[in-house]
């Protein structure tokens, strides 16, 4: 340290605090809030990214599952003794039709004895069925949501016989097994449902009661801690099943394949993809917000310290070195740093209420408040430390002795600017201010403002595009209000005649094969009534024999676009060359994937897809008739209401991110802009006073400051708006293509038409404050201060 010592540092810190505590406190509050939101988003990203593995851990997920038909009990009995197995639980299994708002078939599983360590769903509502209660069940969340059931619901289970199960493809009439009424006592959560894991779980009493009517065995196994346990188990099960099949073939063999499910072996790619989209979105949010907040804090503090540069010069003359001067400012800001840390920590703590985003929420093993204390403490400390470090850096930069920059002024602007002294001086002060004289370089302010506005515009445009996607089902290939699975011609004819049906398409789907052998889902749609909305990302729908439309994701994967051709193998030999006439968004009826596959004319379908395609009827109801029509159809047909694909639901859950980002960026950028404009009068007090000395009237001074405000904001708008729209277009195109929907950006023109003049008007209004202050301050005082 220089000669000043700590006493001088404390004295300067007290003086700094006395004159600048309000500004420091305001900056600390804003930075604490922004830092807290950014770190809270990290906490949310962590919770979202870890939801699946935490759920796997919470449920003690089994290693393998097999489904065995009821008429092959010897195979079920052999499983516990197969190599690699350490522990086994064997449940009885039934298939039943449930009565409810819609016709559904579900599988039921119940253990003869309780083995909580192998199937242990997280109960998100209610409780597990009691061991001794044969009339209690737990439902998977998806079945509960799909069927409109909850804890306390009474449902009737009409069970199928094994014989009826074997007739699934040809029809089997009313369920012939026992009928029972059960109460839903819990809703359960597991990493995966389906396959061997029945969506309806009952207790041992249920198993005992309906043991004679089982259609199969669901067997869960945990492997011994051996490296090749899974392989040895799989091979042994296949061998045993083959032997059993020879001795005693099952009547339901086609529905119960002898395959081994390995639920913990690999994460579902859809889960991984959703996780990447959601966590990726959060990471972008954190980076943009964090950098934006840091930039604005840096600029504000630099302005704050630059306005007091003269004080530092005096301190320097008194013998205080840069370390002491900086230390004094850090000491003065210590309280503000603590405030920033506390505010940030509080926001991070509050983020504990946020559930994982999007489809990952269904994997959260501990719904509700989940504080991350380590992040709260580390984040709060980090925010306070970063705040004080920024104070130190900006104080040192502002206090650094600089030689005046020797430059030749640029030509005096346009003739128009020369015509009006306020325009001439105002634009010069706004655009050519230099760090060597007063505070922040004008170029840095302009770049920061442009980036902030670009960030806001990009976030708003992305948010608008996401909202439009979620609010327009046709854009994700769900233009129909409901879809009837396996539609029969008689039902279709009746619906076409029904005045409550506004539009109806009969769809057929199957798998075609590209010339290179790649299988690709192919769909045709036959219009039977009205016009069902289909989203086109480009071109038109195929009508001709040699025409095809591709999904956006398929187009991206195959590297094709409208005007290109596709070679597809024909069922009876040879290939067809189809011309791509459009990019259409369709959702697969098989797996819910959006934007994959091909769309061809119905006549082409038969030539390209072998076997019997799956038929469905997509129905658009007349206005106001959808609910009643669905309720009626669901009584007799397997009909599904409009489903939001997971990929779209994930994006839908991201809608709030750009909105929050836009809001926070607008607040942060706005605060920076307000600070810049409000302090403009003080930073340019000398120049304004000179203008008064030359005889400028108060009106001319006001005009100069107004021009300066406009000249600060207009370039930022001129650059920031198109930059933001361009960035949003690129980001949305990538997001939309990955999701399989149309990549055209929803430009919020109305908002922009309001916001752009509003920002300008706001800047002009803000310039009134420094103008008023300038008018109140005698030029003699301003010149003496300069």
């Amino acid at each position: 340290m220089g000669g000043g010592g700590f006493g001088a540092v404390r004295a300067v810190a007290r003086a700094e605090l006395r004159t600048g505590w309000r500004a420091l406190l305001l900056m600390a509050l804003v930075f604490g809030l922004v830092g807290g939101i950014a770190t809270g988003a990290i906490a949310l990203a962590e919770r979202t990214a870890t939801a699946y593995p935490r759920l796997v851990e919470a449920v003690a997920l089994d290693d393998a599952r097999v489904l065995v038909a009821a008429d092959q009990p010897q195979l079920a009995a052999a499983v516990p003794s197969l190599p690699g197995v350490a522990e086994v639980r064997t449940d009885q299994a039934w298939i039943a039709q449930i009565d409810g708002p819609a016709l559904r078939f579900v599988s039921i599983g119940a253990p003869t004895t309780q083995h909580d360590d192998l199937v242990r769903p997280v109960v998100v509502a209610g409780r597990m069925p009691a061991r001794e209660a044969p009339d209690e069940v737990l439902l998977s969340e998806s079945i509960a949501a799909d069927s409109g059931l909850g804890v306390g619901s009474r449902i009737t289970l009409r069970m199928l016989t094994l014989q009826q199960v074997s007739m699934f493809d040809v029809g089997f009439g009313p369920p012939a097994g026992p009928t029972t009424q059960v109460t839903v006592v819990g809703i359960g959560r597991m990493p995966t449902w389906g396959g061997a894991l029945a969506a309806v779980q009952a207790g041992p009493a249920f198993a005992a009661k309906f043991l004679p009517d089982i259609v199969g065995y669901a067997i869960y196994a945990r492997f011994a801690p051996e490296p090749d346990a899974a392989q040895r188990f799989g091979a042994a099960f296949a061998r045993t099943a083959a032997v059993v099949d020879q001795i005693s073939p099952s009547v339901v063999a086609q529905y119960v394949p002898h395959s081994v499910e390995l639920p913990g072996a690999a994460v579902d790619p859809a889960v991984r993809a959703a996780e990447q989209v959601l966590v990726g979105g959060l990471v972008v949010f954190v980076i943009v917000l964090g950098l934006g907040g840091l930039q604005v804090l840096g600029q504000s503090l630099l302005r704050h310290h630059s306005a007091r540069r003269a004080t530092q010069r005096v301190e320097s003359a008194l013998g205080m070195d840069v370390v002491e001067r900086t230390a004094a400012r850090v000491l003065a800001a210590a309280g503000a740093g603590v405030v920033a840390g506390i505010v940030g920590g509080a926001v991070i703590l509050a983020a504990g209420w946020l559930e994982p985003l999007g489809s990952q929420a269904r994997f959260e093993p501990a719904p509700g408040f989940r504080p991350q204390w380590e992040l709260v403490i580390i984040g709060g400390l980090g925010i306070g430390v970063v705040f004080l470090m920024t104070v130190a850096v900006t104080a040192a930069v502002a206090g650094r002795a600089q030689q005046p920059t020797v430059t030749r002024p640029r030509p005096g602007g346009t003739r128009l600017l020369r015509r009006w002294p306020a325009a001439l001086l105002g634009t010069r002060l706004a655009l050519h201010g230099r760090v060597g004289r007063r505070g922040l370089p004008a170029g840095t302010t302009a770049v920061a403002a442009s980036l902030a506005i670009a960030g806001v515009v990009a976030a708003v445009a992305l948010g608008a595009s996401l909202e439009r996607l979620v609010d327009t089902p046709a854009r994700y290939g769900q233009g129909a209000d409901m879809t009837i699975v396996d539609a029969r011609e008689a039902d279709v004819g009746r619906l076409v005649a029904d005045p409550r049906v506004a539009a109806l398409d009969v769809g057929a789907s199957g798998t075609a094969t590209l010339a290179d052998g790649t299988p690709i889902e192919t769909t045709s749609r036959e219009v039977r009534k009205g016009s069902l909305p289909v989203a086109l990302a480009g071109g038109r729908l195929p009508v001709g024999h040699d025409e095809v439309a591709v999904g956006p994701r398929a187009a991206s994967t195959l590297g094709v676009n409208v005007g290109d051709t596709l070679d597809i193998r024909r069922v009876h030999g040879g290939t067809s060359t189809l011309r791509i006439v459009g990019v259409a968004v369709l959702t697969s009826q098989n797996n819910g994937a959006v934007g994959d596959g091909l769309l061809v004319a119905p006549t082409v379908m038969r030539e390209l897809v072998p076997g019997q395609p799956l038929f469905d009827a997509a129905v658009v109801a007349a206005p106001g008739a959808a609910d009643a029509l669905y309720a009626e159809l669901a009584q007799n047909l397997e009909v599904f209401p409009r489903q939001v694909p997971d990929a779209v639901r994930n994006l839908g859950d991201l809608v709030t991110l750009p909105e929050i980002l836009a809001l926070v960026l607008a607040v942060v950028a706005g605060a920076g802009m307000v600070h810049a404009l409000l302090t403009a009068g003080r930073r340019h007090a000398r120049e304004v006073a000179v203008l008064s000395v030359l005889g400028a009237t108060p009106g001319q001074v006001r005009s100069t400051l107004a021009v300066m405000a406009a000249a600060t904001v207009v370039p930022a708008l001129v650059v920031g708006v198109p930059l933001g729209l361009g960035a949003a277009r690129v980001l949305w195109w990538q997001l939309a293509t990955a999701t399989g929907v149309a990549g055209d950006l929803a430009v919020p023109w109305r908002l922009l038409l309001v916001v752009v003049p509003a920002v300008l008007a706001g800047a002009l209004l803000l310039s009134l404050a420094p103008a008023k202050r300038a008018a109140r301050t005698p030029p003699a005082v301003a010149l003496a201060g300069g």
């Binding site: 005046p404 920059t405 020797v406 430059t407 030749r408 002024p409 005096g412 003739r415 020369r418 015509r419 009006w420 002294p421 001439l424 001086l425 010069r428 002060l429 050519h432 201010g433 230099r434 004289r437 000398r686 120049e687 006073a689 000179v690 203008l691 008064s692 000395v693 030359l694 005889g695 400028a696 009237t697 108060p698 009106g699 001319q700 008018a775 005698p778 030029p779 003699a780 005082v781 010149l783 300069g786």
Partner: protein
């Protein structure tokens, strides 16, 4: 003052429009100050900067105002130029009482009648020398071409035309002060007020500026200059001495330096 048509420093012409509006006396002195008082509020005790100043400067006269630091010289100059308001007393410039004028009319009076030169120049760094001078004319309502031409001629007369495009930061102290003087003359003021114009200059620069003031006075420019320099003051017709906010008296000079 400076005449652009003849490119000479010539006697100023009163602004008829402003003067007529204020109904001046038939042949008033350029500056009349009566009973001027000014007190600044300070943290410990009020500072009585001016305690009743009376001063008259005739048209075409060159008066030097001398006194120790804190005697109130600069305060007096600022009040005369209308850069601050007095607590009591009156100031009359070209026959116009300034204490009764609104801020806007005071600004118009300043642009027509008063030119100001400061010790530390107060040029605008973001503008070239030419633009600094032209800005004053533009503020007064001159058309751009006229303002530029006037500024160019003034810089030419003061020997700075080759520096017209330079930033003030690139000029020497003497050159900056000459630019400041050109700016003060841009609107042909009837009264030139100078606050220690040589105070921040080296001897060469001070000599340049001193010579310039002498030339201006010779052609009839009314000048009131605050200075610490006896040499500079010696070029004036009268030296008025000031201490503790009051004028102590005045002496006529030999005019050797004129």
């Amino acid at each position: 003052m400076y005449d652009a048509t003849t490119r000479e420093v010539v006697a100023p012409v009163p602004d008829e429009s402003v003067a007529a509006a204020a109904t001046p006396d038939p042949a008033p002195p350029e500056l009349v100050v009566r009973g001027l008082r000014k007190t600044y509020e300070a943290e410990t005790a009020p500072v009585r900067a001016l305690r009743g100043v009376d001063l008259t400067v005739g048209r075409g006269e060159f008066v030097a105002l001398m006194g120790p630091s804190g005697s109130g010289k600069s305060t007096l100059l600022h009040l005369l130029a209308g850069l601050d308001r007095a607590d009591e007393g009156s100031v009359s410039i070209a026959g116009i009482r300034t204490e009764e004028l609104s801020a806007t009319r005071l600004a118009r009076l300043r642009r027509r009648h008063v030119g100001l030169v400061f010790q530390f120049f107060h040029l605008i760094d973001h503008m070239s020398a030419l633009e600094n001078v032209a800005l004053a004319a533009l503020v007064a309502g001159a058309k751009p071409a006229e303002a530029t031409e006037r500024a160019r001629d003034l810089l030419d007369t003061l020997g700075l035309l080759e520096k017209a495009g330079e930033s003030p930061a690139n000029l020497s102290g003497g050159q900056r002060q000459r630019v400041a003087i050109a700016r003060a003359l841009a609107n042909r003021p009837t009264l030139l007020l100078a606050d220690e114009p040589t105070g921040a200059l080296d001897s060469d620069g001070a000599a340049e500026v001193h010579d310039l003031f002498t030339r201006m006075h010779r052609v009839g420019q009314t000048i009131l200059m605050v200075t610490h320099s006896a040499d500079v003051a010696a070029g004036a017709q009268r030296i008025v001495r000031m201490r503790d906010g009051v004028l102590l008296g005045e002496i006529a000079t030999t005019g050797e330096q004129r």
